[in-house]
């Protein structure tokens, strides 16, 4: 694994994953909105061992620049061995239920921007005939729950899209990986009450992700026990589930 593109590089999970790849002396290209943080992160990753770090300020919700940005990355890298997409926002469910503009904004950030990027990436990588696309979705996409189904359905859209894309890119030897973290203690989840056995640190999740990508898994639950939890959640009959305040 050499050339790695990280989209949403300033997210806590992306930071931790980038550091693990830096230790493996990979080349990294970071995309994020926050130019100040990117500069710091570039320094940090270089000191930690990355062979080269490039970065560019980038707003995922500006769909019109996606094609140009991916071209810029390819101009720098030549080829992409891993495209890691991890930008996103945790929706305010109540606000999205009242106001469709808020919901649309969340769908843009968490789903449509990802699909736009995947479209560009898939085109290049199917020509390249190698590499891997890994996207952070969420366990929230496994079943619609009344507490956060806007976020959940946006993530589910990406998960379903990835399933199809996996088949399409299979013959091009490009792997497509769906990463579904559980509760992670990051700035994105700062509004939630934290603590307890189900919460993980970004570092722990990053290890699961890097490990799963190395093994070319199709779906990575991070940490792995979420696979079991979501199996249980999915198997609850709907007549019961609709009564649960999950």
């Amino acid at each position: 694994m050499k050339n790695i593109l990280v989209i949403g590089a300033n997210s806590a999970i992306a930071r931790a994953v980038s550091r693990l790849y830096a230790e493996e002396h990979c080349r990294l290209f970071l995309l994020s909105r926050d130019a100040e943080q990117l500069a710091l992160q570039k320094q940090d990753l270089q000191i930690r061992g990355a062979s080269e770090v490039d970065c560019s300020a980038f707003d995922a919700n500006n769909f019109s620049v996606h094609e140009a940005v991916i071209d810029q990355v390819l101009d720098t890298f030549g080829s992409i061995d891993l495209a890691f997409i991890c930008h996103g926002s945790l929706s305010n469910q109540a606000q999205c239920e009242d106001n469709f503009d808020s919901a649309l904004q969340e769908f843009n950030t968490n789903a449509l921007s990802v699909i736009s990027l995947l479209t560009c990436l898939a085109r290049h990588m199917s020509v390249q005939r190698s590499g891997c696309i890994a996207v952070i979705t969420s366990v929230a996409g496994d079943r619609g729950r009344q507490s956060n189904f806007v976020y959940g359905s946006a993530k589910a859209m990406v998960s379903t899209y990835l399933q199809g894309l996996r088949g399409r890119l299979f013959k091009s030897q490009v792997d497509v990986i769906d990463i579904r973290p559980g509760f992670v203690d990051t700035p994105m989840t700062h509004t939630l009450k934290k603590g307890g056995p189900l919460w993980s640190s970004p570092e722990k999740v990053a290890h699961c992700i890097v490990d799963g990508i190395r093994k070319r898994k199709h779906t990575i639950y991070a940490p792995g026990y979420w696979r079991l939890i979501m199996l249980v959640v999915r198997s609850i009959p709907e007549f019961l589930f609709k009564r649960l305040k999950l």
Partner: protein, 442 residues
């Protein structure tokens, strides 16, 4: 939310802030808050790194966590000067740089402390007798002042503030980043010799005789009485010279939940201590061990503080000058073993000379650290121990303290007034306060 530090005592209700950048950190001080009365108040709280101080020094109504400020900012491969943000852990530094042949000049008993915290507590290690404290290896630091200004401090630039900040328990401002000297080592493993001492005087003589050893620390059986009082195992260490470099090992066991505190009682701990003291030791042989095992034996047991049960524990660490050390430590051990209190981990260490930092703990002499399970009968005992320590010219470690009185503190840290004056002049006394600083009248 409810929060406590490593000793799990005391617990307080705090608002946590986790700024993601130096500018967000600065903004935290500049923002004014609307209170119930309509008045605007400035920030009032304390910085916190990884929460490994034991007592209440990193507890306040508002807590600024520095864990998101965790970037390495610059490294000079020729000189070993490393600049990093305050939230970087010593674990990260060792993980990144030990494989390249560099090591921290001073490491405390755990590597899960932040650089900011290590400076604020002016931590010491097993090489204090030769190399002094962590603060003595800080080239410079940048300090966020109460008015939002960020000031560069070192022993030559703004030196008064620098010496107040190293060991200053976060009371002068918030450390944003720091430049520290890393040290070249000949190998990352440690060659260790273990010496068994049948009583306190013997181990102290051995400390004196091994003053040239790079690292030295003794485990002490604090429950032994009579002629065996203070019996110890002294661990001397040197860096291996084999040119092999590995980061201290990570991972190990974890204590998943609070264990019932009654499991740790005078009998179980006495048994453990007797077995540990009597384990087979060849004092002539040198043993090659991994660095983590020598420096951070407890780091391999995650959440070991849960062993003391839900009420937590207090670590009592004091230092007394050389001349009074034997008498003072004997009295302390007699008093605590008579009360049947103590634990399986008591650590004795000889310190070298103190430094210029206003509230730095170490002075030339001996330090003893003992863990005590929290129980109601403990506090009166510790007050008694305080008077023994103070009568012998000693003091307690602020990073471990959760209960000493203002009078005890002010008597044993004579330079407290300089810090208070400096705080008043900069306005830090209205912005940076911890439960500890209020208790100690700083």
């Amino acid at each position: 939310m409810q929060i406590h530090s490593w000793g799990r005592y005391p617990t307080t209700d705090a608002t946590l802030h986790s700024p993601r950048s130096a500018s967000a950190l600065r903004q935290l001080l500049l923002d004014t808050q609307q209170t119930d009365t309509g008045a605007k108040t400035a920030f009032d709280g304390i910085a916190r790194g990884l929460g490994r101080s034991y007592g209440d020094s990193a507890l306040a109504g508002n807590i600024v966590q520095t864990r998101e400020l965790d970037q390495l900012l610059a490294f000079d491969t020729d000189t070993g000067l490393l600049t990093c943000a305050a939230g970087v852990s010593l674990d990260t530094i060792l993980h990144c740089f030990t494989p390249r042949g560099w090591f921290l000049p001073v490491v405390p008993g755990t590597r899960f402390v932040s650089v900011g915290g290590a400076i604020a507590s002016d931590v010491h290690g097993k090489n204090h007798h030769l190399d002094g404290t962590f603060g003595q290896h800080v080239h410079s630091l940048r300090l966020l002042l109460p008015d939002g200004e960020v000031l560069n401090c070192s022993s030559s630039e703004n030196s008064a503030l620098f010496h107040a900040t190293c060991g200053g328990m976060g009371l002068t401002g918030i450390i944003v980043d720091a430049t520290i000297h890393l040290r070249r080592i000949p190998g990352s493993a440690i060659t260790q010799r273990t010496l068994r001492s049948p009583h306190l005087q013997d181990v102290m003589e051995r400390f004196e005789a091994s003053a040239a050893s790079t690292y030295s620390v003794a485990w002490l059986d604090c429950l032994a009485r009579g002629p065996a009082l203070g019996r110890s195992l002294l661990f001397l260490g040197e860096h291996a010279t084999d040119g092999l470099f590995k980061a201290p090992r990570r991972g190990g066991l974890t204590v998943p939940f609070n264990s019932p505190a009654f499991l740790l009682n005078r009998y179980s701990m006495g048994l453990f201590n007797a077995l540990y003291y009597n384990r087979p030791v060849n004092s002539q042989a040198k043993q090659r061990i991994e660095a983590g095992q020598y420096f951070f034996p407890l780091d391999s047991i995650a959440h070991w503080n849960r062993l003391y049960g839900s009420r937590g524990f207090l670590q009592y660490q004091f230092v007394v000058p050389d001349a009074a050390a034997l008498a003072a430590i004997t009295l302390v051990l007699q008093r605590s073993s008579a009360a049947g209190k103590g634990s399986f981990l008591s650590v004795l260490k000889k310190f070298g000379p103190g430094n210029d930092n206003l509230l730095s703990f170490p002075i030339q002499g001996y330090t003893l650290a003992m863990d005590f399970k929290f129980e109601n009968s403990l506090l009166p005992l510790l007050n008694e121990l305080d008077s023994i320590v103070l009568d012998h010219g000693g003091r307690l470690y602020l990073a471990k303290d959760a209960r000493m009185s203002e009078a005890t503190f002010k008597r044993s840290y004579p330079r407290w007034a300089e810090l208070a004056q400096l705080r008043a002049a900069s306005g830090a006394d209205r912005v940076f306060n911890s439960l500890q600083s209020r208790r100690l009248g700083l």
